[in-house]
Amino acid sequence: MGIPIASTLGMLGDNLTKRKSALPLAGRVVTAWADGLDLPHGGKTVIYTGQMWQMVPAINAMGHQLAQYEEKEADGMFRMVRRLNRLVNLTSFLARTTAAEREVYYERLRNIARLLKAAGVKFGYLYEDDWYAGALAYDEGLDPAFRAHAQRVAEMLKRHGVERLITVDPHTTNMLRSIYPKVVPGFHVKVTSYLEVLAEHPPKTVRPLDSTVTLHDSCVYARYEGVIEPPRELLMHGGAKLVQPDLEKGLTFCCGGPAETLFPTKSGKIAAQRIEQLKACSPNVVTACPLCLASLSRAAPKDVHVRDISDYLVKAYLPAAKA
């Protein structure tokens, strides 16, 4: 009973080995967010999404599919699907998404790029070479597949002459900043989260926020990477008032997202628990991770608004878009 662990992880590992991502996306799905932004190809400093934001709609769709098997005996079927997936990318059928679903997450990436530009940061983009960093494979202990992939990513970055990566989510930040240097000999690329970059060079506040919000710290940002103050500084500098739960900063409570693939029911219960803690402070919940955003949004009742921090930062630091 339950989602078969071996076949599910096997598929993710096979995908990473054969298709460079645990959940492979078509090339245009990865890069479409950058249309119209005129980001230069490559450069010494690049924005690196690691496909995390683009992948969230597919993760949601995949999770929905997998959840149907949580209470069933499906080992045989999953073994067959894994065998077929080695030949054809079945995960792309299982995790189909609509343009509207993808657009929600593209917009956050555009927000981030615009904010960096407004802060005067010069950066390029690797477009089709903006590869997944391998966080899920690493977390699930798929070590051979992860190590081979990390080596491949490192070589690709070297080919492009990249010296500094600006990352846009905690998981990619953690992989490239803390894990790659341990598993890839000679990996010395400087890795900085866009929140750290912006906090160091905050753009001028043009439309002060008049909102009371509660910030949900991502476990990976807060406890793995020590990124705790930058989101607070940026929100407060932009005019927001923060009301925080007891479980914040280094004591933050998980959003439940990491259990979503294999144990969706447990994941949902943890997300609901976290939402209760956050909404006691404010109905305006701010996240700084695409997976936290997805997980907490699923658990939030209608009167709780879960938004990414970039939604607020755009309001505070960028002029209103012309209609």
Binding site: D139, D143, C254, P258
Partner: protein
Amino acid sequence: MKVDPDFLDTLRLGGEFNARQCINCGTCTALCPLGMEIMPRKLFRYALLGNKEAVLKSTEPIYSCLLCKMCEANCPGGVHIAENVRALRSYLNAEVLEV
């Protein structure tokens, strides 16, 4: 209980596994968002004792772990709990699940 004296060494082939600093205080279990009694101190004790059978029976808790590090941040022994759980996964993937 059958003890496998080589179990810990085999486990370490998959990565860092060190729970010797664990003082069995239970802070980790009390704080775990999953509320699973075996996680993580009992599980680590089984591994340290070479109780391979008990570890192998614990597939669900091992893969349920969120790796959120709430336990690790509060561990008075400074045990690298998340890395230990990852090592257990790596071991199970290779030895049992054949992933």
